[in-house]
Symmetry: C2
Subunit: 262 residues, 2 copies
């Protein structure tokens, strides 16, 4: 397991049932903590309270996360035999940062599989380009996410023309992407609208992100694909697929975000 990621997303249950945590220094993009990182932190508290790992989580972003202490309020709404439904709120002082709602359960392997699609075919990661947006990103020094060169043209003012990004995700100090890092991976790539010339490269705030966890990743890097189909009225969807090293789909995500305004 990644020691650095685990330490940066650690939570501690207090006597009153709330969780203390800390948005660590250096997990930011342009000063604000990466959204997927904050989700991972909150999901750890939720999973602890549920006694089960995340299966489907939804986050709504309320304000940018800044380094420093946060409190996670967790409410186990229902805990059944197989699944638990949990709400959570991350606050820094009195400022709400993130609201979450999720179902937590172990995977139950078995039964027929019908999978449409397959992992993206990627160049080796050393031929790929950092998946960071073109701003100072401490976050992208903590993780390894890289894009196909064809998806990185926006960094030099040459967007590919297709609202798509494909690439690798891994952690630098571990071969194992655990389920919390998997949640984070869904928000660890540059927004796909950067590859459409209609939009400037700039801040593209996520309003909502939902991740369905479909398996525990095998050791090794993830192959990821993100794409948008519906860009209109200043908003876009972005759907993600994350495949593990054995070629198994381990998560799919979808977010609604605002297009950059420059």
């Amino acid at each position: 397991m990644s020691t650095e990621f685990a330490a940066a997303t650690a939570v501690r249950r207090r006597a009153d049932g709330r969780y203390d945590a800390r948005i660590a220094e250096g997990w930011d993009i342009g000063g604000n903590a990466n959204g997927g990182y904050v989700i991972a932190l909150a999901a750890r508290a939720m999973a602890d309270a549920a006694g089960r790992p995340p299966l489907s989580v939804t986050a709504h972003y309320l304000s940018p996360g800044r380094p420093g202490p946060v409190v996670v309020d967790v409410d186990v709404i229902r805990s059944g035999r197989r699944m638990a439904t949990v709400a959570a709120r991350v606050s820094a002082d009195t400022t709400p940062v993130l609201a979450m709602l999720g179902t937590f359960a172990d995977q139950a392997p078995g039964g027929p599989s019908v999978i449409t699609g397959e992992p993206p075919i990627l160049p080796p990661s050393d031929e790929c380009v950092s998946a960071a947006p073109p701003v100072a990103s401490g976050f992208h020094t903590r993780i390894m996410s890289s894009m196909r060169p064809v998806d990185a043209g926006f960094r030099d003012g040459c967007p590919s023309g297709t609202a798509e990004v494909e690439g690798w995700f891994a952690l630098p100090d571990s071969d194992q992407v655990d389920v919390f890092a998997l949640l984070m991976a869904t928000d660890a790539f540059a927004p796909v609208v950067f590859n459409r010339h209609e939009f400037p490269v700039g801040w593209s705030p996520t309003l909502e992100l939902t991740v369905h966890v479909r398996g525990v990743p095998a050791p090794g890097p993830l192959r990821c694909r993100f794409a948008s189909r519906f860009i209109a009225d200043g908003m876009f969807d972005e759907s993600g697929e994350l495949w593990d090293s054995t070629g198994r789909l381990v998560a799919h995500s979808r977010q609604l975000a605002l297009v950059p305004r420059g």
Copy 2:
């Protein structure tokens, strides 16, 4: 506006800020209220508290809704200039029925559009087949949802082989599908796994449903497409697209559900 639908999803704010509502008789499928119907009811209370219509809502189902009084607890987590983030819980007596989290905001038309895909090409609705599952469905007498005949083979033991359903949605007493009926429409068709022979036709409980509202529907019926790409380990995703009569995408949905066990 549909008088019947509006009455069946009406909410009343009490002095203590909670909302009284009623799961109406006859909006059930096999005795349990349709999930999309309960979402519409809860979203009305959330929109009232937010003073804005739904933009992105996520629901986690906790227990089947039965006809009778319910209370909707609404918590406006953050209310900004343009958007409000709202959590809600629907309870019948002390039984939790539904947990929701959403962002509420008016649409802000304008800016570049890049839409990949188009509305499904459907036979006229009088050549389509009721989109009800093959059990007693009061719900499907309250709404008009119909499938292409090719998607209805499962009703006679001949599933199409493709985890897909396309069809029409409308309300019987109004030409206008409002934003709350639009939410309901995303859960108003038979589960797409019925069209795969690997699975029996039976109860397929939704765990989580997220809807992104992308426009206010123009008058007229909606054209809808639902499909699943990832069926594995007893679960499946189902993505929906809802297009209005002018050919505009007005909502996209995604749910995670359990495959029927027979």
